[in-house]
């Protein structure tokens, strides 16, 4: 316990200062607060790592009013990573139905945008926009945490 306290004292605040400039919010009524449900529609796991980083202490996406939640009923936005495989197309739609309006969909990473390198593979039923209406897309394979944070700030408008 004492050790932990010393660690806390030693490190202090590790969150980087926010980049100035903001846009959005994408949807009226979501100003300042967006709860996010993350859906892995068939990702390699790279984007998950970056999303995790974006919510970690250094980038601290939570300070812009975003929070990861467990249930789509509590969510305002779906954060979809990876190509939409055949088995995940249905669950993805059901997840989207479970989200109460107003709701947003963000495609994270090249696979989610246009199947990336997996385009035309036999198990792939398409990119996210082929299944759901997409409001924002984050390029990159994997995308940089800064971009993810930027997209989140675009949603919350903070």
């Amino acid at each position: 316990m004492l050790k932990l306290w010393r660690k806390i004292r030693a490190h202090g605040r590790v969150a980087e200062p926010p980049v100035p400039g903001r846009r959005g919010p994408l949807a009226a009524g979501l100003r300042g607060s967006v709860q996010i449900r993350h859906v892995d529609a068939g990702s390699c796991g790279g984007c998950e790592v970056e999303v995790g980083t974006a919510f970690g202490p250094v980038y601290d996406a939570e300070r812009y009013g975003a929070r990861m939640v467990a249930s789509p009923r509590h969510a305002d936005a779906l954060l979809v990573t990876g190509v939409v495989t055949r088995n995940m197309a249905g669950p993805l739609r059901r997840t989207y139905d479970a989200v109460p309006a107003p709701r947003l969909v963000v495609a994270v990473g090249d696979c989610a945008r246009d199947c990336g390198m997996l385009a035309g593979a036999y198990g792939v039923s398409g990119a996210v926009r082929d299944v759901l209406p997409v409001n924002a897309e984050i390029p990159g394979c994997p995308p940089r945490p800064e971009d993810i944070v930027a997209a989140i700030r675009e949603m919350t408008g903070r």
Partner: protein, 317 residues
């Protein structure tokens, strides 16, 4: 039904309703800072609520009236407790309802209703959360009542106002073993009943580790807003009971505006400090295994019982 009581009741309901989300914000902020993050700020919970109230309410297939009414019952029980307990003033808005037994029962009532709603959804997670919550509650209630007992032995009544007045008149009695034991027991119980670490992790995303969260997985929009508000108010009310029972300093004894203002400020300050301390403590804790929780509650029960015993045999003086 004195003027003092009415004034206190109104102020308390307003303060608790408006302040509870802020308290949640404070606790999140403290935690964030200790983790080296910047934190979303104190207003975040309120903007979450504002947004939720504007979202569309959802009725899951196969749920009944109870599912829709439960959030209101939870809120109502909490608001009534917030209204009748002597937080800001020593008098109570509804004296006959300020009995500690009644207060405990009211809070249990809210929990039970939410558990029923969770079962009503018929999902596995709902049932799981309800089962766990009721198990914890069944073990928490005895401890609560025993600490009530310990506190009421000297005051000679289980009425909150009476106890608080007695403590205000003779502050030294708080420093007695009975008082301290009861305080520790009540703190443990508060942690367990409001679903904080190490009993329950309010920020978990993994359903299998959930207790309270698992019960509200199906709520959306305004319903969820009511549940969230009520939960944060429950936390505030529990902390408020703690501070008003053990450190009722600054509480208003007259209906003079100045006294009321001072009482309100003191109450807010004390609860905020308690909440911040709780959040700071959580940083150093890991969640307890579910079947170790009974040990914790058994311990708190024993402490409460010892508090009663101490209030008898050390209280002879």
């Amino acid at each position: 039904m004195s003027r003092l009581g009415i004034a206190g009741g109104v102020i308390q309901v307003l303060v608790v309703t408006g302040g509870a989300p802020v308290l949640t914000g404070v606790m999140r902020q403290v935690r964030a800072r200790l983790e080296g993050r910047a934190g979303p700020g104190l207003r975040q919970p309120w903007s979450d609520l504002r947004k939720l109230l504007r979202k569309e309410p959802v009725t899951p297939a196969g749920t009944g009236e109870l599912f829709r009414v439960a959030p209101l019952v939870l809120l109502a029980t909490t608001v009534v407790v917030a209204g009748v307990s002597p937080f800001v003033t020593t008098a109570s808005a509804i004296g006959p309802a300020a009995d500690l037994f009644a207060v405990v029962a009211l809070l249990a009532m809210g929990t039970a209703t939410l558990a029923l709603a969770a079962i009503d959804t018929g999902t596995a997670f709902g049932g799981m959360g309800a089962s766990r919550e009721m198990t914890i509650m069944a073990l928490v209630e005895p401890t609560l009542l025993m600490s009530v007992f310990a506190l009421s032995v000297r005051a000679g009544s289980t009425n909150l106002s009476a106890i608080v007045t007695a403590v205000v008149r003779d502050p030294a009695r708080v420093a007695s073993p009975a008082g301290l034991l009861a305080a520790v027991a009540l703190i443990l119980v508060t942690i367990a009943e409001t679903g904080r670490l190490p009993v329950d992790n309010p920020a978990t995303h993994l359903e299998l580790t959930m207790v309270h969260e698992a019960m509200i997985l199906e709520y959306a929009g305004p319903d969820l807003a009511v549940v969230e508000l009520a939960s944060s108010m429950r936390l505030t009310v529990f902390l408020g009971l703690l501070v008003t029972l053990f450190v009722p300093w600054g509480i208003a004894v007259t209906a003079a505006p100045l006294a009321l203002a001072a009482g309100t400020a003191a109450f807010a300050a004390k609860v905020t400090i308690c909440g911040a301390a709780l959040a700071a403590g959580e940083v150093f804790m890991a969640k307890l295994r579910l079947f170790r929780v009974p040990e914790l509650l058994g311990g708190s029960f024993l402490l409460a019982l010892l508090a009663v015993a101490a209030s008898v045999f050390l209280g002879a003086a």
